[in-house]
């Protein structure tokens, strides 16, 4: 049986087993007494916390159960926070303020930045982190970089540094993280790059080696997105044919899990699938199935599950639809069961660790300040779902690379939620377990499993991709969404409801000056001129590794010393071909 079908059977079997435990607890007095005793022990072990207003609350409130069957269903089917199947959360305490006043287990706030040249983005990073102990540097790249092109390529001038930072060479990468100690356990870097991810990651490693001692690889912390499957399905930043793209990615993942033990070499992403128009269920189903596909490919390469699976991370979108009150919980459950029962992974492999971003698509340009409310609502749902980290969008994003004013509001929004409000500080599960949440869980889980069966019927993730299954489903959903907005069935305040034409205020738009773009063009030209001869030789060396089946990523760490991103992309495209887009 194929992997996805095995996952479907495992989840169904798990649900049946839970119900068997419930029956046992009810029908066998001895078993029932055992559950009651355990429940009592758990309740007694939970410490109390005194709120600033002076009331006493349990740090982990539990449902009010006094019947053995229901207790068994809760403990086996949902699990306490940090316990299989991790419906509540992957760790016991997440963002709770520890009793001894130390740092919470998770510091979830992330802010994505990238604008202009490496120096400007570096300055933004310093601004964002100046009052923070830990430095979480989340990097957005500009269009030419996302497509593996140099800033001096024909026709890209207008796009240099727009929406993200321009990185052409290892020298740009050094400038980007100047002044940050990349070997510090408090520093973590995330790079949102996919098609050219192996080259960009190689530049990051090479830059770190240049600035710190060799051996710094072992302590590098962070994530590179690198999820090529979702690119083919939704976001369209693909440089090479699917088979070659997967080979380069797997080369990087394999090298990373054995050489950079603290790095996450893939962030399996539903965000872009959702942004391309997918429904919440589609987002969850395609993302999880992509995750299982990567797991299968790594296993086929002979990498042990407990080596690679703990280094997988996930990335989800959180929008305003009701599914989001429980979507991530269900994802954690399905992943945990799949990794345990289909892949024989240990507890670390079973934990789905996720980053959540509030939904860019839910933001609109009409009466854009309403976007603050949309983002706030989405953040609440993301944290209700115990996300490991969260990026909150800036209200001005429909127009522009976020301005400092709105970046600050987005950042402070998270602080208000986590530090100022009492929602997540004192209690785990403050909002869990409502009847509505359980209803959404059941509905969403059933629909995800149906999608898995359909993908499997079409030949698994890759076969379904060849049939354009995911793409056409996403496009159909996108078309429905647009029609719903136009017909008013989907209400968007300020756009198709309560719109006030007198309120046409616009934020100031951040654009990159031509002089800055020119500087980047000249810089990459100078780099290529300086390394002209060495580059020709390095590119031939790279081609040789492509040809003889060696690890392309390991070679790229050398190649980037003298070659630009565009030179490497062109050479690899000559060797393995160009991706033919799917409509």
């Amino acid at each position: 049986m194929k992997v996805l079908n095995k996952v479907v059977s495992s989840v169904e079997l798990f649900n049946q087993e839970v119900e068997q435990r419930v029956c046992e607890a009810r029908n066998d007095a001895k078993v029932g007494a055992g559950w009651l005793q355990r429940w009592g022990e758990i309740q007694r072990s939970i410490p109390q916390v005194i709120t600033p207003t002076g009331i006493s609350l349990p740090r982990l409130p539990l449902p009010e159960l006094d019947e053995p069957g229901l207790i068994a269903r809760y403990l086996c089917g949902e699990g306490l926070p940090g316990e299989f199947p991790f419906l509540s959360s992957v760790y016991p305490e997440m963002y709770l303020e520890p009793e001894d006043g130390s740092k919470p287990q998770e510091e979830p706030t992330r802010l994505f930045a990238g604008l202009g040249t490496a120096e400007e983005t570096n300055a933004r990073f310093h601004l964002l982190t100046k009052s923070q102990q830990s430095h979480r540097l989340s990097t957005a790249f500009d269009g030419p970089t996302l497509y593996g092109m140099d800033s001096d390529a024909d026709g890209v001038f207008g796009k240099i540094g727009e929406g993200g930072v321009a990185v052409d060479t290892v020298e740009d990468m050094e400038r980007l993280f100047d002044g940050f100690d990349l070997s510090d356990p408090q520093t973590s870097v995330s790079m949102t790059i996919n098609g050219p991810a192996p080259t960009i990651m190689a530049m990051y490693v090479a830059a770190a080696k240049r600035r710190f001692s060799s051996g710094v690889e072992k302590v590098l912390r962070g994530t590179v997105q690198a999820d090529i499957l979702k690119e083919v399905q939704g976001q369209n930043e693909v440089l090479f044919p699917v088979a070659a793209s997967l080979r380069f990615l797997l080369d990087m993942m394999e090298h990373s899990v054995s050489h950079f033990p603290k790095w996450y070499p893939v962030s399996i992403s539903g965000y872009h699938i959702s942004q391309a128009g997918a429904t919440p269920v589609q987002q969850a189903a395609y993302t999880l199935s992509n995750g299982f596909a990567y797991a299968e490919m790594m296993r086929e390469r002979g990498v042990a599950v407990d080596v690679f699976a703990p280094r997988f991370s996930f990335f989800f979108d959180c929008g305003v639809d009701v599914e989001f009150i429980a979507l991530s919980r269900v994802c954690r459950k399905i992943w945990a069961i799949g990794m345990r029962d289909v892949f024989d992974g240990d507890l670390r492999s079973q934990r789905l660790k996720m980053h959540t971003q509030t939904s860019g698509r839910s933001l609109v340009s009409a009466e854009f300040k309403n976007n603050l409310t949309r983002t706030a609502l989405e953040m609440v749902m993301a944290y209700m779902n115990a996300t490991n980290s969260c990026h909150s969008n800036s209200a001005d994003e429909p127009f522009t690379t976020p301005s400092e004013e709105y970046v600050k509001l987005a950042s402070h929004g998270q602080s208000i939620l986590l530090e100022e409000s009492g929602l997540f500080r004192h209690m785990m599960n403050g909002l869990n377990g409502s009847p509505g949440m359980k209803a959404v869980e059941r509905a969403v889980e059933a629909e995800i499993l149906k999608e898995f069966a359909e993908i499997e019927r079409l030949g698994g993730v890759l076969g379904a991709m060849e049939h354009r299954y995911q793409r056409s489903q996403i496009q159909a959903a996108s078309y429905r969404y647009e029609q719903q907005i136009l017909s008013g069935e989907r209400r968007v305040i300020g756009l198709n409801r309560y719109a006030d034409s007198s309120d046409a205020e616009l934020p100031s738009v951040v654009r990159v000056a031509d002089a800055v773009k020119l500087k980047q063009v000249e810089r990459v030209r100078a780099f290529k001129l300086k390394n002209k001869e060495a580059a020709a030789e390095a590119l031939d060396g790279l081609s040789q590794v492509v040809e003889n089946g060696g690890n392309v990523f390991a070679q790229l760490i050398e190649t980037v010393e003298v070659c630009s991103l565009g030179q490497i992309t062109e050479r690899l495209q000559r060797d393995v071909g160009v991706f033919r887009p799917m409509i």
């Binding site: 500009d142 269009g143 030419p144 996302l146 497509y147 092109m149 024909d154 026709g155 890209v156 001038f157 207008g158 796009k159 727009e162 929406g163 976001q235 369209n236 930043e237 044919p241 699917v242 088979a243 070659a244 391309a276 128009g277 609109v364 340009s365 009409a366 854009f368 429909p398 127009f399 522009t400 996403i474 496009q475 996108s478 078309y479 647009e482 907005i485 136009l486 756009l495 198709n496 616009l506 738009v509 654009r511 393995v576 071909g577 160009v578 991706f579 033919r580 887009p581 799917m582 409509i583």
Partner: protein
């Protein structure tokens, strides 16, 4: 033979997303809506350069180009498209566009000042887009009186193809040249476009002076509109040595469009001067014989391994007429069985002589495609 009145023909529009931009959900939604409103939309796809857009607009002889831009750089990009069209004497081709909030109202004013006809911002209804495009471009193009007799470049050729329609062609003017005409047909999903594109990739690399024309077909759907999207995935065919034209079937059954025969004669003419002309039918059914009575030299039937039971193969009429049979997607699990069945079926044919190639066109430099290329060039 009479001709249809071109003024009432569907409006042909080219749509694309600029270089380094992969945001295609809006443009796909607009494509669908325009088709529904009776437009023929030639979709070039995303991450497309100004050069690709202008070349396609000229070759397809569209009335306008629509560009959907989401991640910045639109001021420069639109201006370059407008200027490049003017530079080749085709400033009659309109330029319009749209995007999310990244295009500000101030940008719109600026873009209109340098020749962009219209920008549709977020929240614009599809009805309004269709109405506005009709208002802007209906009646702009009338090729009925076009009488070009010499074909100096792509631009002339494109306009001739629009003008010939279903007229009786002047045989002397469009005398057959040395071009070899190769027809590709087969069921939808067999991978014909990918096969042709991979064929062209190797052709361009191996023949530094070779010029090739490609005529592709897609079905017209409701209300006469149609999505012509072969260009979106045929990346190697976007080249100055390739002339590509996409036709909608406009109600014609069997694989071709009403103007296909005339277009083929023009493309295969001495005047047009191509070395090879490739024509791809729409995805066809078992009974289709699209190449009967046509100027095709070599008939290629492309199949994929999932044609069903063996008996289905016996029902494909083209199996008895094709010069070459290509079994594509040989990486599929069912390929081995299919090869055996197709070989058997071919062996039953009277006279024999049919050549079989096994290809995996999605693979870069595929051996089967290389062999097919050699055969068809021979």
């Amino acid at each position: 033979m009479g001709r249809s009145n071109l003024v009432s023909d569907p409006l042909r529009i080219l749509t694309a997303v600029p270089l380094c931009d992969g945001h295609d959900s809006a443009v796909m939604a607009v494509n669908q809506a325009l088709i529904h409103h009776g437009f023929e939309v030639v979709y070039l796809g995303y991450h497309r350069s100004v050069e690709d857009i202008v070349r396609a607009a000229i070759q397809e002889d569209v009335v306008a180009v629509g560009i959907s831009s989401y991640n910045g750089g639109h001021l420069e990009f639109f201006r370059e498209v407008v200027e490049s069209l003017a530079a080749v004497g085709r400033d009659d081709i309109g330029v319009f566009g749209g995007g999310g909030g990244t295009i500000t109202p101030a940008d719109v004013v600026l873009m209109k000042s340098y020749g962009v006809d219209e920008i549709f911002l977020a929240g614009t209804s599809f009805e309004w887009i269709a109405e506005r495009l009709r208002e802007l471009y209906r009646g702009r193009r009338d090729r009925t009186k076009y009488e070009q007799s010499t074909v100096a470049d792509d631009r002339d050729l494109a306009m001739v193809l629009s003008a010939v329609g279903e007229l009786d062609l002047d045989e002397k003017k469009w005398q057959r040249g040395s071009a070899k005409v190769i027809g590709f047909t087969g069921p939808g999903g067999a991978g014909k476009s990918t096969l042709i594109d991979e064929w062209v990739r190797g052709y361009l690399a191996g023949k530094p002076d070779g010029r090739v024309a490609i005529l592709t077909h897609d079905p017209s759907s409701t209300e006469r509109g149609g999505l012509l999207a072969d260009r979106a995935s045929m990346v190697y065919a976007q080249n100055d040595r390739v002339f590509m034209r996409s036709l909608a079937t406009r109600g014609r059954q069997g694989g071709f469009a009403p103007s296909t025969e005339n277009c083929l004669r023009v493309l295969a003419s001495m005047e047009a001067g191509f070395d090879h002309v490739l024509v791809e039918t729409v995805g066809t059914g078992q009974e289709a014989l699209p190449f009967e009575g046509s100027v095709i030299d070599t008939k290629v039937l492309v199949l994929h391994p999932e044609y069903g039971a063996r008996v289905q193969l016996q029902k494909i009429l083209m199996m008895d007429r094709a010069d070459v049979v290509v079994l594509n997607k040989t990486d599929w699990a069912s390929a081995a069985r299919a090869v055996e069945e197709v070989m058997h079926q071919i062996s039953l044919r009277n006279g024999g002589g049919v050549r079989l190639y096994q290809t995996q066109a999605s693979e870069h430099g595929n051996v089967g495609v290389t062999e097919l290329r050699k055969d068809l060039l021979g």
